[in-house]
Amino acid sequence: MSRADAAPSLALEVREARLENGLTLLLVPDPAVPVFTIMLWVPAGGRNERPGTTGVSHYLEHCYSLGSSRLAPREIDRLVQRLGGGKNAFTDHDYTAYYESLPAHALERIIEVEADRLATLALPEDRLRSELDVVREERRLRIDDSVAGFHNERLMAAAYERHPYGRPVIGSAEDLARMTREDVLAYYRRHYVPANVTFVLVGCFDEARAVDLFRRHLGGIPAGTRPDDVIEPEPPQPAERRLTVTKQGAKLPRTALLWKTVGGDHPDAVPLAVLETVLAHGDASLFERVLRRARQLVVDHSTDYYSLRDPCPFTYRAEARPGVELAAIEEAVEALLAGIARDGPEPGALERAKKQIELAFLAGLESTSARARAIGRYAVTSARGWRWLIEFVERVRAVGPDDLARVVATYFVPERRTVVRLLPEEGAA
């Protein structure tokens, strides 16, 4: 099969529109499906928080279903349920996003609902209190009682001393304990304004009618201003950082290596993404073969490169096999990376990675919610906007072996590296 045949169809037609109040619409009409996904993207997440109110983005995400001028608390949940759809929301470092997937006939109803809560969120005091308890339980579940969650929180804090990526998106336990309604309200008023937010709509709808519905229901909301967030940059790191933490309840030691790389708009973000695939995607990847199978160093491990707006982490996390020294894992990872910096990837590895990325990209176009998610994420994290999604796949094809060697040599250096080991703490059993 020729390269051209293997290439996915990139005819992802995104129509862009802007209401007079600055609200951005990204529309992908697709008459081949009977449903649509509507997704609100707010470029406000952990990155936009201040010390003292960490976790406010995620807490607001929880409160965003607690009612508005025309909606009772949780009424949106029941509405979506009765329409036969699904909904969810998530908060990350760079953004908060909300979506509903629904049958085609529900478009106007859901746009009314989204307009109502964007303009008139209620935040009733009693509901806010019990929702804060829920968030604190979520933190206990995901971070305090979770070996992996605790380890990751320490890793990010060690790597980013000034930049907000070092703070937990879910919020510190102390900040959550003293979070107030005023904190949430101020954050909502600052970030949830038409000038700042984007709606992505993918699926079965008529484009002109959809724009008209958005204009009718959201066009009257005052524009507000796009917040001018000043993010403190992370100062250069003079040398490798190393830290060991202990955790009661952990059974096997863990290590995590994090290298600070570049923001998602940097040209090197593309070879770094290809590198992640070469290292860690699938049974044939380098780390799976060497670290898990040949040398049997790890029980479980993961490699993550998830591009963010600001210089973002490339992370390797591993749980050691019983009896394996963490130093052996760290040295093996460094040796494999040094091999790529010296010789480039192994023969065939780059071509395999490119084909994996193309097939994954195609599969990511299958559902309306996956499309809305990919488009929205690039729309709010990249200066190039959603087009970066298309460009990204095209640029992957142009990555050569030398590019991988170069990015490893450039970014996988001690001055960008943080290593946090986690050891089980002997406690009373």
Binding site: R82, E131, V134, K251, R289, Q356, L359
Partner: protein
């Protein structure tokens, strides 16, 4: 080979009994292939829990023709990787291919399923991996909770043991056990393949016929415990597992319910939906999470299984609020049994079942999965559509009757994992508490 219509696709049976389902979905040039073999943990022979899991893990460790690394590269050359899933009833193998690569993909899948090499050194490695996985799991309350629940609520039943085996049984498994288990269970008559995507069903039939065109062993019953499917006896009571580092209590209360193919399954599914299966809108989430702020996640589920899968309600909450959460959950289970379902609640469930259909069949993976589900539980063509019709026709009294017949809060096994000093005395408010050792 006779090709017959099956819903929107086709069904055909190859010589030897291998059953294949195929459905065309041409939106994107990709194809999902999923194979299920009735060789799950319920087939593990006595004293060999984990044999099914070891066997399925070892399928990736090389074939007679390709060693482990060559096999991994062969899938990666197609831009994909083989996914293997352990299970109680079935083990699943699945992969996604570009449509143009389907023939090569099917040939690889056939090789993995039917010509594994089971190298002795890989058997040892996989055993050590599974033991290490168990050691790692001892740090996670949720894994302790699930394993303890099955150990207590399914004592003496094929679902009693963890799918991955126990330290003792894993140590006892030999390469000969693996070879024999594979020979007995990975046979045409126990295997079903589903294909969905950008492919004509006739071409899919042809491709599968060629890929699987080698002699297949006749089906013999495996040596495992699946031949004796007793309905497990309930083990009511409170069972506590001490995990000293926990700030939260993880709780699960439930019991064996009914097999997926039971005529009451849909009615019970609707009862569970209203009770705890509808996310934040369910009664358990509304009372435990939204109104009282006791937990981040609270709900209930009914597990579809070939034999009686469990019904269980779950939550994680602070030690001080654990008993209150259990009481709230128990009251909600009691209410769905004793009060007729309000017409509005039933109507919401009907609408949700009907409306969710397009989302349950949105991707080629979903479509292949739905075909497999129909085949495995013998649900017939268009089973999702027909389930919607049945749910639409349910009366409130039928839902309550199913809940009364199959939910038994007074018979429930309650398992709590948490910190002893904070929990043990509090739990006595519920009756006698039996502390059981962690797995």
């Amino acid at each position: 080979m006779r090709v017959e219509p099956f819903g929107d696709g086709v069904r055909f049976v190859l010589p030897g009994g291998l059953t294949v389902y195929a459905q065309r979905a041409p939106r994107l040039p990709i194809v999902a292939v999923a194979a299920a073999v009735q060789a799950g943990a319920a087939c593990d022979p006595p004293g060999r829990a984990g044999l099914s899991t070891m066997t399925v893990e070892l399928l990736r460790a090389g074939t007679e023709r390709l060693d482990e690394e060559a096999l991994a590269r062969a899938f990666a050359d197609l831009g994909t990787s083989l996914r293997t899933d352990r299970g109680q009833d079935w083990v699943d193998l699945s992969a996604r291919f570009l449509a143009a690569d389907l023939d090569r993909g099917l040939a690889l899948l056939a090789e993995v399923l039917l010509r594994p090499a089971f190298p002795a050194d890989k058997v040892e490695r996989v055993r050590r991996e599974l033991l290490a996985e168990r050691e790692s799991g001892r740090a996670r309350a949720e894994e302790i909770l699930v394993e303890t629940f099955y150990r207590v609520a399914y004592a003496g039943h094929p679902y009693e043991f963890p799918i991955q085996g126990t330290d003792e049984t894993l140590a006892a498994i030999s390469r000969a056990d693996v070879v024999r288990f594979h020979a007995e269970t990975f046979v045409a008559g126990r295997t079903t393949i589903a294909i969905a995507g950008d492919i004509e069903p006739e071409r899919a039939a042809d491709a599968v016929g060629r890929a699987f065109a080698f002699p297949l062993a006749p089906a013999r019953p495996p040596a495992g415990g699946e031949g004796a499917p007793p309905r497990p006896r309930p083990r009511p009571g409170v069972f506590f597992v001490h995990k000293p580092d926990q700030s939260q209590a993880h709780l699960r209360m439930g019991h064996p319910a009914i097999p997926r193919a039971h005529p009451d399954f849909d009615a019970l599914l609707v009862a569970n939906y209203v009770l705890g299966g509808a996310g934040l809108s369910s009664r358990i989430a509304e009372t435990v999470r939204t109104r009282n702020g006791l937990a981040y996640a609270a709900g209930s589920f009914l597990v579809p299984r070939r034999l009686a899968g469990p019904f269980a309600a779950v939550a994680q909450t602070r030690s001080e609020t654990c008993v209150r959460a259990i009481e709230l959950v128990r009251a909600e289970i009691e209410r769905v049994r004793s009060e007729p379902l309000p017409e509005e609640d039933l109507d919401t469930a009907r609408r949700q079942f009907a409306g969710s259909l397009p989302f349950r069949l949105e991707t080629v993976g979903h479509k292949a999965g739905a075909l497999l589900e129909a085949a495995l539980y013998d649900l017939g063509p268009r089973h999702l559509e027909r389930q919607i019709e049945r749910v639409s026709a349910l009366a409130p009294e039928e839902v309550r009757a199913a809940a009364r017949a199959h939910l038994a809060p007074e018979q429930a096994t309650i398992v709590v994992v948490g910190e002893r000093a904070a929990l043990f005395e509090r739990l006595r408010a519920l009756g006698e508490v039996m502390e059981v050792p962690p797995p």
